[in-house]
Each structure stands twice: as C-alpha cells, then as structure tokens.
C-alpha cells in the first residue's frame, strides 16, 4: 500500500507540470492584459509609464522565460506577488482559507448528515410517498438558482423577520464582544450562507445515495441477510450501506478541492471574503501570479482528492487491492 501511494505521488509530478504549462500559456494567450498595471483609461497615465510598469513586473520578457522564472520560484514555494496590490500571493490566499474551508466543511457535513439518511429512506420504498417527495424536493433544489434563493431567504429571514444578519461574517463591533458572544456572532452570520451553499449538493448526493442503495438492495447477499432473519436495520446499515457507499466515497474525494474552491456567487451575495471572489477578481484583472497560484492549488487538491478516494476504496471494499 505504501509503495502504491509512493508511486502515485511520483506520477503526479509530470501531471502537475503539464497542467501548469498549459494554463500558463493559455492565460497569457487570452486576449486582454493585466488592467491594474496600466490604470486603464486614465489620461493621467501615459503609455511610457505603462510600459515601464510592465517592465517592472517582468511582462516584457518572452513567455518561456517568464514560465521558467515562475517555476523556479514555485520550487522555493514562492508564488510571487499579486499585480493588483503587490502583496505576496501566499498571504492573500492564506488569509482567505479559514473562512472558505470552514464554510465548505460545515456545508459538506450538513449535506452528508441530511443527504445520506434521506437517500437511504427514499431507496427503501421506491415510488412511494417519501421517495416521491424527496425526488421532487431534490429536483427543485437542484434547479433553483442559488443567488435567487439567497436573496429570497435574506428578504424573509433578515428583513421581514429580522432574525439573521444579511451579510458579512462578523458584526461591526465584533472586537468589543466577549468570547462567547464572538462565537455566537460568527455562527449567527454563517447560518444562511452554509444553508444556501449546501442545497445544491444536498440534492445531488441524496440522489446518488438513493440509486446506489437501490442497486445494493437487489443483490443476492441481501436476500441471504433477510433469510438469516436479520433486522431491517442490520440489513440496510450493515450490509447494504457499506456496498452502496463507494460512489459516495468518490464524491467525498472529489469534494476536497471544492473545500478550497469557494463560490463567487454566494460569496458576493453574502459579502464573504472567500477564495472564490479572490480568484474571480484575479481572472478579471489578469492578475497572472494569483491565477497561476489558484491553478496549482486546484490541481494539487484534485490529485490529492483522487488519491484519497482511491485509498479509501480499499477500506470500504475489501475486494479492491492495490499493488
């Protein structure tokens, strides 16, 4: 097993290299150029100054040279400085991570706590009341645009009822609160964003759970289990669930990069300083160092997620063996 992990890790290096080369070239070939540098459309900024600024950022060199310099820095774990405010990219990303990761993990936990039982319950009596209800609900949730739902919920809970805050993660006078009140304040601000960001995946995962559970329940060993006289609880949760959870494990693995992904839409609506907005703005301003950092981060996490999923298969399904 150790050897297998080792091999997989080595195999990731060329993949990562390939990803960075392709994305580096694409992002530089994309039309448009870094707009913060040239103070677009400000007559007080002359073209000479813009050229000088481009030079200071190293943008006048050939693409290959720029790429090599970037890789050299990456090997030293230096992601460079952002064009927009000249701060180290690493700092900009690190300061956003706690919020993004906590919202995403909270919503992931919420999703699994609700979606798995919901999927199982629906699969037990397919085509009946609860199944129909959950199918209907899933499709509605899945089809609903998040931003629209978020605005409706804000209107209702924050304005009509006045129970929840509209945006941000902390109250304005947060610094002056006691510790207990601080914790409550953050939790209070997180309720809506976590709920809204969960709904889409709630629908998807409960559907996955339902279908794989239904398949597992038709297998011969389930009849054996029933024939042995086991209770429904034991049949479903002990025998069927373990076999039905393979697709769910894959999804968990693939959700790992998503933990750091963040969503531009709901971060903007709830005014949360997360990674999604950071990267979206980087792309709009052609902030190359920041975009590349995002690509590397995403690539590494996706590969790590796949690896973790593959390893956990072996635990969930003893028939899978890695050499």
């Amino acid at each position: 097993m150790i050897k297998y992990i080792y091999k997989r890790l080595l195999g990731m290096i060329p993949v990562l290299l390939g990803i960075t080369i392709i994305s580096f070239v694409i992002i530089h070939l994309a039309p448009g150029k870094p707009t913060t540098l040239d103070q677009a459309m400000n007559p007080k900024v002359s073209p000479e100054i813009r050229l000088r600024l481009a030079k200071l950022y190293g943008l006048d060199k050939p693409l290959a040279v720029q790429y090599l310099e970037w890789t050299k820095r990456l090997l030293r774990f230096d992601l460079g400085r952002s064009f927009s405010d000249n701060r180290p990219v690493k700092d900009k990303i690190l300061e956003r991570i706690p919020l993004t990761v906590s919202i995403n993990s909270l919503s992931l936990i919420f999703v699994f706590l609700v979606a798995i039982p919901m999927g199982i319950k629906a699969s037990l009596k397919p085509g009946r009341g609860f199944d129909n209800f959950s199918t209907f609900l899933s499709f509605i949730l899945f089809a609903m645009p998040t931003f629209w739902l978020a605005l409706l919920l804000m209107q209702f809970f924050c304005i009509t009822l006045g129970w929840l805050p509209i945006s941000g993660i902390k109250s304005l006078d947060f610094e002056y609160f006691s510790l207990g009140r601080k914790v409550w304040d953050v939790a209070w601000h997180l309720i809506l964003p976590v709920f809204v960001s969960s709904l889409g995946s709630l629908a998807v995962i409960s559907r996955y759970m339902r279908s794989s559970m239904m398949e597992a329940l038709t297998q011969p060993y389930i009849y054996t289990a029933w024939a042995k006289g086991l209770s429904q609880r034991q049949v479903v949760y002990k025998h069927a669930l373990r076999n039905a959870s393979l697709p769910i494990v894959t999804i968990i693995g693939l959700s790992i990069p998503g933990l750091l992904g963040g969503s531009v839409i709901f971060e903007s609506i709830f005014a949360l300083p997360g990674l999604g907005r950071l990267f979206y703005e980087a792309v709009m301003m052609r902030d190359y160092p920041l975009i590349m950092a995002e690509v590397v981060l995403g690539a590494v996490l996706t590969m790590a997620g796949n690896l973790i999923a593959d390893i956990s298969y072996a635990y969930v399904d003893p028939r899978i063996r890695y050499k």
Partner: protein, 537 residues
C-alpha cells in the same frame, strides 16, 4: 399600582424637560460621536496614495492624507497643507507656503521635507506609480525653508498646480522603505482627518477620527467601509439600516426607495455628475470622416429619450467634454435638436442615398452599416446602444452591437484602434485640461485620442490652455474648444448622469454643493440621542 408607576415616571420626565429647556439650547448641534457605515463594491488595494490606482483605495486614502491643494465646494482650487501659493515668472515658478503646526498622525511635525520626499518618489522610475507624468514636467523642487517650497517647471504648466493635490506622505517613516513593497501600504499614516484603525481584506476598513486634525476634529468618530460586492445585498442592508451611505441606481432612487421606510430613515441626494457618456467614431474610417455625416447622426438620436429610458430622467444632455457645473463649460451652446429629417437631408448631401429602395442608405454601392462596440458589465451602455441602433435604423443606417469584456475591449479595440464606433464614458476631472484626449499628438497606441481627432485650432488652444494661469482667459479658451468640438462632432455627446446616493437621516450638517456632499464630511454630526454606534474608538 398603575397610578404609582405613572408618578414615578413623571419625575424623570420633568427632569428631562428641564434639561431640554436649560441645557439643550447650549449644547444643541454638533455632537461628537457615532460612526458612519458605507458600502463599497470593491475592496481597496493599496493605501499608499501614489500606488493606489483604484477608486476604493483613493476614497480611503483621501481621508487619511492631504495634498498641498484641494478643491472646495464650488470646485475652486484652495490650499490644504499649503496655506497659500504664488505663481511667478509667467507660471514657471510656483511657491507654496505651507501650513505651520500640522502634525503627522504619530505626532511628528509636517515640513517641507515631506513635500520634497513625496516629489522625489513620484519621479523615481523604480517606484511603481502611475501618476508620475505631471511631475516629470517639474525642473526642480527646492526647499527654501521648513515651510516654503519652490517648484520650477520646464515650461508653464497650469494643470501642474492641481497635481499638487497629490497626497503628501511622511518622510520620517518611508525614507528607508522600498515603496513598492512596504507595510505602509496596509498601515498608512497621514495628516488627514481620519486614521486607519483596522483593515480586514475584502471585509471592512475602519477609520477613526484624528483628534489633532489641523482643521478640526471630525464630529463623527468612526468611518467604516464595508465591502459588499453585490448591489442587491447592499440594498437589503439598507432596508435593515445596516449601512448608512450608499450610491443608488436610477431605479433604486426613483422606485425602490420610494417607500415609507426609506422616507422615514433616509435622505436621498441627486447631484450633478462629473462624467459624460459618448459615442466615439473612428475618424480614420471613411464613413465617419465627413463632418456632415457625424452631424446627421447627432440629429438622428434623441438624447432626451435615452436619458428618460435608461437613466429614468436622472441626467442631462451632454454637449461637450466638460460638465455644466464647471467654469470651462460653455453655457451658450444649445444642444442640436432631435430632427431625423434634417439628418436625412445632411446624409443626402454627403452622398448617402437609398438608391435601391431597400430601406438602407448606400453610397458607391455600399450600405451604411457599422458596429458599436462597448464593454461588458455596464447594462446602461448596452441599453443606450440599443436605442441608438433603433434610431439610426429609422434613417436607414444599420447598426450592429458588440459587447466585449473590459480587458479585451481595451487591448483589442481601443489600443489597436480596431473599431468603427465605441460607446464609452469619461469621468471629467475638476481641472479642465483635456490635452491628452483631444490633442492630435496623442494618437499612439495606448494614448487617449484613440478616435484620431485632429483640428489645428483645438491643438493650439489646448497648448495655450496649459500655459495661461489667468482663469478668465483660460475660460475663453475652453469655451472655444467646447464650441469647435460640438460643431465637429467627433463624438456624439450623449449625456451626463447624475450621482444618486442615500444617507441615513440621523446625519446632520450636510450641505450639497457643486462639488457634491462629501467635501465637508468632517462637519457632519449626529445628535447625541440619535447616535447608533456608541462604542468609543
């Protein structure tokens, strides 16, 4: 029981009434305290003023720093850190007399050395400032004594005076720092009315009042800017009184805030804007090189209709590169009327006729057809383009609309002059010098006369306008420029939109003026009993 409570209640009521009668008249007005919370779509990027290139940063650094000069409520240049100035030797020399006793927010005295230091950094090629241009015209800057600075220009340069509105930065802190790369850009320290207290990236920026500000301690203790990137969220926050100040769209101003709630808690402002939106023609394109054609297009488009439909009436017809509240604006110019028949006649004179009777104009066998390009993310401009498209169709001109992402728009369309017509806007600076946009030398890639306008008289006047300090003479120059440009129609000037905003009505002391409402911010105050944020900074 009931009676008793009433009795107990009465005593304080009498006391309070007493207080009102005797104490209030003396303390009435101008209480210190409270905070103002405003919303900003984007976070600031860099609070070192010379590197700040975005409006969010400039807004914050404008409260932390001062320049030598500033614009007052009537848009006249007055002293800020400079008490006064003299223009000598026909405009070659400006001598600034600095205000004495001004302290940096850490207590160190501000002197002419700070001005010299700021200037040196502005022209230092290794500093990544985009604003060095105006200062490169300075031949030398001498410190005559601690409170006198003599600036000598290579040639008289009137806009140079306004360029000294550039924020002055403290030498004693930045002397040994690399400005491109200093903590100062996140922890600025200036001479201004507010000090930075906390900056949480993409979340909020909190400023507290500077008790030792040289003009006076601001009444409002804290100024908090929350970063809320979504317009609808800002609007929802207004509905819970979570924010006190925000800009409004025309729709929000006229309809969505027309409710009892907003009337009770907020006050709305509509102020003349410093901008204009235009349709710029690529003058090297043969279709647009004929002045009659450009005038015809101007007659064919109903500007008032655009203002009514797109801005819901919150704007005025623009006739030139200045705004009506500026002294440079020529009030004698009457906007050309909306007159499609006249447009048809002018086009006919210029040789554009519908010879094959298909409803579209042709000349030399080619139909009159062109593309209006504009940037994505500005709904207003897209709607304007559609109205123009419709109006030009009426006179037989086929218009296509192309909407392109901003960065691509600049690189592919503007810089390469690869367009037929563009729909854009300029923001109009207080200083009327428009050399960079209209002089015929400013046509290189990346420069701003991208339509390729050339008129000898305008060229000459633009140069003169930069050399003559006397405002009456300058006014004549800019009035003439305005007249020529409107006559020649290199742009179809469309409208100047108003700036619409909303402010919580507990704030007092706001006096709208041509410059807007923010100019006397340090005199805004909230009566003690209405103050909402009571934690002292």
């Amino acid at each position: 029981m009931r009676k008793k409570t009433l009795k107990i209640l009465k005593l304080p009521i009498i006391l309070v009434a007493f207080l009102f009668l005797f104490i209030l008249p003396q303390t009435y007005g101008e209480d210190y305290g409270d905070a103002i919370v405003s919303a900003s779509i984007a976070d600031a990027r860099n609070l070192l003023p010379m590197l700040a290139s975005d409006s969010a940063s400039s807004e914050i650094s404008g409260m932390v720093f001062n320049g030598l000069v500033k614009y007052d409520k009537d848009i006249n240049l007055v002293g800020d850190l400079a008490q006064s100035w003299e223009v000598q030797e026909g405009g070659l020399v400006i001598i600034f007399h600095l205000r004495r006793g001004v302290r940096w927010q850490d207590g160190i005295i501000f002197t002419a050395r700070d001005v010299e230091f700021t200037y040196q950094k502005m022209i230092d090629p290794s500093v990544r400032t985009p604003y060095g241009g105006d200062f490169e015209r300075v031949k030398s800057l001498e410190v005559l004594d601690d409170y006198t600075v003599k600036v000598t220009y290579k040639e008289p340069f009137v806009p140079g005076l306004a360029s000294w509105g550039m924020s002055i930065v403290p030498r004693h802190i930045l002397e040994k720092e690399d400005l491109n790369n200093t903590k100062f850009s996140r922890q600025p320290l200036g001479t201004g009315p507010y000090k930075l207290k906390a900056w949480k990236g993409q979340d909020k920026i909190e400023l507290v009042s500077n008790r030792d500000y040289f003009e006076k301690q601001p009444f409002i203790d804290r100024a908090i800017t929350r970063v809320i990137p979504d317009d609808s969220t800002i609007f929802l926050e207004l509905q819970t009184q979570g924010i006190d100040f925000s800009g409004l769209s025309p729709l929000q101003y006229s309809r969505q805030t027309d409710t009892l709630f907003f009337k009770k808690y907020y006050r709305k402002f509509r102020l003349p804007g410093f901008n204009y939106t235009y349709l710029g023609y690529n003058l090297s394109n043969p279709k647009f090189s004929d002045q009659r054609v450009r005038q015809a297009l101007n007659y064919a488009v109903d500007k008032q209709e655009i203002i009514d439909m797109v801005l819901l009436g919150f704007g005025s017809i623009s006739t030139g590169p200045f705004v009506p509240q500026s002294w440079a604006y020529n009030q004698d110019i009457v906007p050309m009327s909306f007159d499609p028949d006249k447009a048809r006649r002018l086009l006919d004179d210029a040789g554009w006729q519908d010879s094959n009777k298909d409803g579209w104009l042709e000349k030399d066998g080619r139909a009159f057809e062109f593309t209006i390009a504009t940037n994505q993310g500005n709904d207003e401009r897209q709607k304007v383009a559609q109205i123009i498209q419709r109006r030009l169709k009426d006179i037989g001109i086929r218009v296509k609309i192309k909407v392109v992402e901003w960065s691509v728009f600049l690189a592919e369309f503007i810089d390469r002059k690869n367009f037929e017509a563009i729909l854009l806007g300029w923001s109009v600076p207080r200083e009327p010098d428009i050399f960079d946009i209209w002089h015929s030398s400013k046509v290189k890639e990346g420069e701003f006369n991208f339509i390729g306008y050339k008129n000898n008289e305008v060229d000459q006047l633009l140069i003169e306008g930069r050399r003559i300090f006397d405002q009456n003479q300058r006014q004549k120059i800019y009035h003439r420029i305005h007249e020529i440009i409107y006559e020649q129609q290199p742009y179809m000037f469309l409208f100047t939109s108003e700036s619409l905003s909303i402010l919580h009505n507990r704030f007092q002391g706001i006096k709208p003026a041509p410059a807007g409402i923010g100019y006397n911010f340090i005199y805004w105050w909230v009566p003690k009993e209405q103050q909402k944020y009571r934690i002292a900074p």
